[in-house]
């Protein structure tokens, strides 16, 4: 058995055959259903909520508005770390507003009914009175560094300033300078399975919540606080999850509302999000006004950027933190001596940001990769060459970035070289049909593993520390092994890799290992799935626990066999000694009455540097090359080829890593070409289904070409770096550069915005024409 054999997922068949259980498959006796009444105004005072008609709808059991909810629920606490560490304010909000709505789609009441349909009917029958207030939908006025008027200042959730050297002086003396503006549209996540929660209370007052969720332990803590319960009185169980991408992190108001509805009705209550509701949330939007200074060789010396990150309405979810990660990600893969990034994270009257895969790292890659191409174009340098002259080189590692991230391992020039010459299939322009070929490259460094609150340390600067993951491994009565872990799978299949890691330590095969995840009663605490931690951090916890159990099992066998522990070997189903003595694991369990389960925690521990806070513990990297065809007659872009060479450190399971990469590349392609969350002029969502929000389908995408380049992470036990997010920003940037390549040769304007939908591209091709 090699550690990178191409095994399918352990549970693949249950998904293919439709046997896997998702939240909406759970239908306990007495189940009632919840629907949400949502604001139709972007910003308004609530003048009244009339539920008389709703209560008369056949099957409706209960209507709960903000006034009633606040009698039972404490305010929702801010989720996910300490906002003050990254210059943000600590939001605390009620689950349902009483005074004021702040975006179209904000929940204002919930309706519980016998059926989901009756609940929706009831919700439609609730009348809410509004007194409109001015709505802020455009964050443009926040661009720049001038002091803001008080009425604007109120909207600033966080301000960030990331600096190194003296950018102003370096720009002033630079031989060449470019002034550039870039923007990235708001977009969202589109899990096949939207969010869903099912709450029930037992007679003793203990709450059980089954949830399609990424963070069962965080959800337990949140619910305990809001509902005024001890954590021990809340159990969260996560069944199979059909994709998450950040949308299923803690802090959504429906989480406590379903629990409250269940308590008030005395019945299990379930809420399943509709696709339209799923598309309310979003992220990734930002505007950059950038100045870059460079010399005649293409070496970039200075970068100054003013950013605005409009994050929608304030919320307790980790959404807006992505704005910090964006600012802190500069200058991505490049060694720039003088950096000055100023960012405002601004609350607007559209639905709140939720975490979106990429977690703020994707837009800076687009900005930096476009900038590199434009620097190269100014000087007549090949895109690969201008990058070679600016990439962080292996000799510079470990490399401290302006924000304080420590890039500890990578070979960026090698990644670039592997893609720079890729995919030359001889595709050529066809002027006759108006179709023109473009190629683009991109290099990405992806900080992973959480703990992103990087900063210089010093007197009075609060410290940060690494979050651990834990696992327990036990021998079961039938001679098999059970792994219980605090990490969860969003549908990515990490349980397969965890089973294999345990099996390798236990001298057995994956089939003898059962992995239990997502049950706060059964599993040791952990962070669920976030920031590519399940294998890189959760994996070592499993390995250490399995290793500990293996030793304990051999010691127990030694006693029973009268042998020396050191000479015993743990193999498939049995422990054996050199002289043929042997005991099966089932018998060992029976005769010993069981070996205590072994629980271990693990946290990556990069070397401490008193000058800096603890931050991301590992950095994956990748290089990309995209080839597109631009239809000059319509502006339509076809993605013809996409190559990625990826360094996630040690590849524990190539099938799972490549699965992650396929998904990330598809997501990046969507962000580059078609995905945008749009609202109308009154702030109402206009992309409410997959017909308006265009996620790429298989036929929109080429066969991806993937390569691995392993530089092991020095500070994780397995050398793994995480593979969940790289590809989103890289594919986005490479495709944007490829479109720019074709458009530029045709005399068009530079690509400065995504998505590059056909009207946008046609406008680039006709800078003076009215073609949008």
């Amino acid at each position: 058995m090699t550690s990178s054999s191409r095994w399918p997922r352990t549970d693949a068949e249950s998904f293919v055959e439709g046997r896997a259980t998702f939240i909406d498959d759970l239908r306990p006796e007495g189940l009632a259903h919840l629907a949400v009444v949502r604001s139709t105004r972007p910003h308004a005072r609530i003048t009244g909520i009339d539920a008389v008609a709703a209560k008369a709808v056949d099957g409706v059991l209960r209507v709960v508005d903000g006034r009633e909810a606040r009698l039972h629920l404490r305010p929702m606490p801010y989720q996910f770390g300490e906002p003050e560490l990254i210059g943000g304010r600590r939001s605390s909000l009620e689950a349902l507003p009483v005074e004021r709505v702040r975006y179209v789609g904000e929940p204002v009441a919930v309706v519980v009914a016998e059926t989901a349909r009756a609940a929706r009917r009831g919700a439609a029958a609730v009348t809410v009175g509004y007194d409109d207030l001015p709505a802020l939908l455009d964050a443009g006025p926040f661009l720049g560094r001038d002091p803001l008027a008080p009425e604007l200042e109120r909207h600033v959730i966080a301000s960030h300033h990331v600096t190194a050297g003296d950018a102003a002086a370096a720009l002033a003396r630079a031989e060449h300078r470019l002034d550039l503006t870039f923007s990235v549209a708001r977009s969202t996540t589109a899990p096949i399975e939207p969010r869903g929660y099912l709450a029930s209370w037992d007679r003793a007052g203990r709450l059980t919540v089954q949830a399609s969720h990424q963070q069962p332990f965080q959800l337990r803590a949140e619910l305990a606080e809001i509902l005024g319960l001890a954590e021990a009185d809340v159990r969260v169980v996560v069944p199979h999850v059909g994709g998450a991408f950040g949308a299923k992190m803690t802090g959504q108001v429906e989480e406590p509302l379903v629990c409250l509805a269940s308590r008030l009705c005395g019945r299990p209550v379930k809420w399943i999000e509709s696709r339209e509701e799923c598309f309310l949330g979003g992220g990734r939007e930002q505007v950059h006004r950038l100045q870059v200074g460079f010399d005649a060789t293409g070496r970039v010396h200075a970068l100054r950027d003013d950013m605005v990150v409009p994050v929608g309405a304030e919320s307790v979810s980790p959404g807006w933190r992505q704005g910090w990660v964006s600012a802190a990600s500069f200058p991505t893969a490049y060694d720039v001596a003088h950096v000055d990034v100023h960012s405002r994270v601004v609350a607007t009257h559209v639905p709140p940001w939720h975490s979106c895969r990429g977690f703020g790292k994707e837009a800076p890659i687009f900005v930096m990769e476009r900038t590199m191409d434009l620097v190269g174009r100014r000087l007549g340098l090949d895109p690969a060459e201008v990058r070679r002259r600016n990439l962080v080189r292996p000799a510079q590692l470990p490399y401290r970035t302006p924000a304080g991230f420590l890039i500890d391992s990578a070979d960026l020039p090698a990644l670039l070289d592997r893609v720079a010459g890729a995919d030359d299939d001889g595709a050529r322009d066809d002027a006759g049909t108006g179709r023109f070929v473009g190629t683009g490259i991109a290099v990405e460094v992806t900080p992973e593993g959480g703990g992103h609150a990087a900063a210089r340390s010093g007197p009075g600067v609060p410290t940060t520390s690494a979050a651990p993951e834990s696992a327990a491994v036990a021998l079961t009565a039938d001679g098999r092994f059970e792994v219980r872990t605090g990490t969860t799978s969003p549908g990515s299949g990490n349980e397969t890799a965890l089973a294999r890691l345990a099996a390798d330590e236990l001298g057995t095969t994956r089939d003898a290992v059962t992995v239990v995840q997502g049950d706060t009663d059964r599993c040791p605490p952990g962070t669920g799935n976030a920031s590519s931690r399940a294998i890189a951090v959760g994996g070592p916890a499993v390995v250490l626990a399995a290793r500990g159990l293996a030793t304990a099992v051999r010691a127990a066998a030694a006693e029973l066999l009268g042998a020396d522990t050191d000479e015993l070997v743990l193999g498939a189903g049995a422990v054996a000694g050199p002289e043929g003595q042997q005991i099966t694991l089932a018998e060992l369990h029976r005769r010993t009455g069981g070996v205590p389960a072994c629980t271990r925690s693990y946290r990556p521990e990069p070397p401490e540097d008193p000058g800096y806070r603890y931050s991301y513990p590992y950095f994956s990297s990748a290089a990309y090359r995209a080839r597109v065809t631009v239809d000059a007659g319509t502006g339509a872009v076809r993605l013809d080829a996409l190559t990625a060479v990826h360094d996630c450190g040690r590849v524990v399971d190539p099938v799972l890593v490549e699965g992650q990469l396929h998904g990330a590349l598809a997501m990046g392609a969507g962000l580059a070409l078609s995905e945008a969350s749009r609202t109308d002029d009154a702030g109402a969502p206009a992309t409410r289904s997959f017909k308006e929000y265009l996620v790429p389908r298989a036929n929109d995408l080429p066969e991806f070409v993937l390569g691995h380049h392993e530089t092991p992470a020095p500070y994780t036990l397995l050398g793994a770096k995480g593979a969940g997010e790289a590809g989103v920003g890289g594919a986005l940037a490479a495709i944007a550069n490829a479109v720019d390549d074709a458009v530029g040769r045709l005399g068009g304007s530079p690509v400065t915005t995504v998505p590059l939908d056909p009207p946008t591209v046609l406008a680039l091709l006709h800078p003076d024409g009215d073609v949008r």
Binding site: D58, R117, R120, R121, A124, E276, G434, G633, T634, G635, A636, L673, S674, R678, A686, T687, R688, S689, F690, K691, E692, L694, V695, P696, R697, A698, N699, D700, D757, P758, P759, L762, H766, G769, D770, V771, R772
Partner: protein
């Protein structure tokens, strides 16, 4: 979501009676053929009928070749059209369009031409194709049956000539002694996207072909027979004269974009006509 009752009439006459009864009683009927547009709209609460009249058992699922025309029943799906050798041979444009219906095999097995005409979406495949083919719509009610040219049937974006108590029973497409050469160009922004601009071209006796544009005006826009080398000017000229209230735009693209790409789409449809029989 409103409470409604579903009926499955056994024949078109019963369907018409159901409609009359519902309308007379002050109710709101909704006729369902494939339901690929109507059912999601029902779920979203955008349609609030009291009676849903489902045509699936009304015996309207046949394709019948008559003298001079082919009659396509109201519940004939795009897949049935694809599977019909007669249509493939006699109405190649319709066959070509049916193969490219957005949504893939599930939608092709469910959606219908009659339903698409009733929805009257300016950007959909069916309206402009039906206009190019000179289709006529068979409209039935308890007051009788009338045959309406599709250009008169489509009265605006999402609007038709149907009265509340009328249903579309079939669509008739004229067929001549020999099939007419055709071309079809469709622009959409992703596999999942509805069409944005379409051009359906049919060869004429005169040089060139006639082209009908979809997704540009609120109803399909028929151009005079035009040789390929003049099509760009003809389209530009026609669109320049289009009254602003007929300009079509939606979330995908504004009018200026549609106007800009229409000549390209028209030229590609014409080029396809030429390529079909060099």
């Amino acid at each position: 979501m409103s409470p409604y009752r579903t009926v499955l009439p056994p024949d078109p006459a019963a369907a018409a009676e159901q409609l009359a009864e519902t309308v007379t009683g002050g109710g709101t009927p909704l006729v369902i053929s494939g339901g690929t547009l109507a059912v999601p709209a029902l779920q979203r609460g955008e349609l609030t009928p009291t009676v849903l009249v489902d045509l699936h058992r009304a015996g309207l699922d046949t394709v019948v070749l008559h003298d001079g025309y082919v009659e396509i029943g109201a519940t004939v799906t795009y897949q049935r059209i694809l599977d019909s050798p007669a249509l493939a041979e006699r109405v190649p444009l319709l066959h070509r369009v049916a193969g490219g219906i957005t949504g893939g095999i599930q939608i092709r097995n469910q959606a219908t031409v009659a339903g698409a005409l009733c929805a009257a979406r300016p950007q959909s495949d069916a309206p402009a194709t039906a206009v190019a083919l000179g289709a006529r719509v068979v409209v039935r009610s308890v007051r009788g049956t009338r045959i309406v040219p599709v250009e008169e049937f489509l009265t605006g974006a999402g609007r038709t000539d149907l009265a509340a108590d009328e249903l579309v029973e079939a669509v008739r497409i004229p067929v001549g002694p020999a099939p007419r050469r055709c071309g079809y160009a469709k622009l959409k922004f992703a596999e999942s996207s509805w069409p944005v601009v379409t051009a359906a071209a049919l060869a004429t006796a005169a040089p060139g072909a006639t082209v009908v544009l979809g997704g540009v005006a609120v109803t399909p826009l028929r151009l005079p027979p035009t040789p390929p080398d003049r099509i760009g000017d003809v389209v530009a000229d026609r669109l320049a004269r289009l009254p602003p209230e007929q300009h079509w735009s939606d979330l995908r693209a504004g009018w200026a974009y549609r106007r800009s790409v229409a000549p390209t789409l028209a030229a590609r449809a014409l080029a396809a006509v030429a390529e079909e029989h060099p």
